[in-house]
Symmetry: none
DNA sequence: ACCGATCCCCCCACTTATCCCCACTTCCAC
DNA sequence: GTGGAAGTGGGGATAAGTGGGGGGATCGGT
């Protein structure tokens, strides 16, 4: 269960420390890939595999499905935590998410998101202002 | 599990280095053949055998199925990694995929695709900013 | 049948990138 | 205040990617 928000630094080699609380659930391996709204998503290996099976099961004859499959798998990276509990974020994923030195690591219950700090700030500021509106919309879901 | 995208070079002899991460799954042998959309597909031997059975089982009376069968089987080559982890891409397969010196090697979960760099670029450039759309579709599968 | 040429495979060498380990600093807990 | 764990940073060893050269088998020609 991933909860909470943390500010960590990427070093010169593109390494990012994962909060100690999150490391247990990622000990068996993890997959980093593109997320929604230009962030990165980190999945525990087991969660990723069920996801990957569904993507692989999509039709071969549908061009859209082929395209989709290529993006999903080509930009994903399966990794493991190093001995200091870090992951390596490749150059292409850093570019996609506009990650330079600082990064925001957010627990999203079943997975983790990694954000450019300004983007995260802008997004949450918007939510706080319109917060009541969003809350009203989503209250129905509970 | 094949994940990630890698840029490698073919040398003068038509040899192509397979990313080190992929080699384990190909140690028992592999098959290179023509893929859909003018790329090449590389399958581990075991995966190839199940694929070959399914393709063989396609209807004989369906013209599309016959054509597909020809594409897949006619130029297929069963190979093994050499001692440096490379495969040899025959002249006819290179021509089909427009491979000269540079090549993009893409993990597709259960198999590998090999692309001409410009073709790959053209295919994925369109998706870059609707990458969020892709990610949303991915999220729906969770 | 023998010789020669060609093709293919294996081995070697160099450059570059990746991984692993170690050390320092900071923050929190006791 | 002290001890320990977490975050941060750098350096060295090792493997990966790339290119070229040599030896052996095969095929064709004489």
């Amino acid at each position: 269960m991933f909860l909470g928000r943390f500010s960590h630094n990427l070093d010169a080699k593109g390494r990012l420390a994962i909060p100690a609380k999150f490391r247990g659930a990622l000990a068996d391996g993890l997959v980093v890939t593109r997320g929604i709204d230009r962030c990165l998503s980190v999945y525990p290996l087991a969660a990723w595999q069920t996801l990957a099976e569904r993507v692989s099961a999509l039709s071969i004859s549908d061009p859209d499905a082929r395209q989709f499959r290529r993006i999903v798998f080509a930009e994903a990276a399966d990794e493991a935590l190093d001995s200091q509990g870090r992951i390596v974020v490749g150059a292409e994923l850093r570019r996609y998410a506009a990650l330079d030195r600082e990064a925001v690591v957010v627990g999203m219950n079943t997975y983790i998101e990694i954000w450019n700090p300004e983007r995260w700030e802008r997004l949450t500021a918007t939510v706080e202002d319109e917060g009541t509106g969003i809350a009203q919309r989503l209250a129905d879901l509970i």
